[in-house]
Symmetry: C2
Subunit: 136 residues, 2 copies
Amino acid sequence: MNTSENYGTIFPKGERAPADYFIGTVWIKNLVPADDTLNTVIANVVFEAGARNNWHTHAGGQILIATAGIGYYQEKGKPIRLMRAGDVVKILPGVLHWHGASRDSEFTHIAINPNIQKGVVEWLDRVSDEEYNSIL
Amino acid sequence: MNTSENYGTIFPKGERAPADYFIGTVWIKNLVPADDTLNTVIANVVFEAGARNNWHTHAGGQILIATAGIGYYQEKGKPIRLMRAGDVVKILPGVLHWHGASRDSEFTHIAINPNIQKGVVEWLDRVSDEEYNSIL
């Protein structure tokens, strides 16, 4: 039986996310690879507690659907927002942001990148502990 | 606690789907409405056992992510495929198809429509009981 704790397991856990763009342990399962017909990349992402990605932008925008645990989402210059299962975040093209797990809970989301003919992702600076802990 | 039976409840149940395009009881919760920036519409759809949509096409294509229960998916001229939690179906632009619950189980999927600048959906004929029961 699935529970909220193992919902992420409706998908295989996938591969470790690259350390160049992520802090902590993050698992990525690609669900829809890039093509030039659907122009959409979709992945299931599991962040262990404390893990997060670097600051980054998407030229075609992104939609996050939180499915389990408690996560953080932040756009540059704004406070960190909590994300819980069922929350949906729309990220407009070019908006600088990061996302990840909260300090004490794993977090899983589906990440949907449409309009990839405009680009998928541009990675920037790491999210410092000071930035991450600004949730306080 | 969420279980596989109530996973769909991480989203509100939403509105009854229009009877013109659906047979049986179907609930649609719109997660991302149409816009001209993300060009993507996303909805969570809950089909009660036996319910299905009409034959239809998407000019921009569609991706289905099954999250709970057991469903059916069929493209014109091909056999019905079973869908279970974690299954992902990519539907290319213009491909005639339908989806819905299996006869004895509710079914929930997330429906992602990218490239809506090309169109969202064109509804066609109802799925007859003979077509629906061709899973036998």
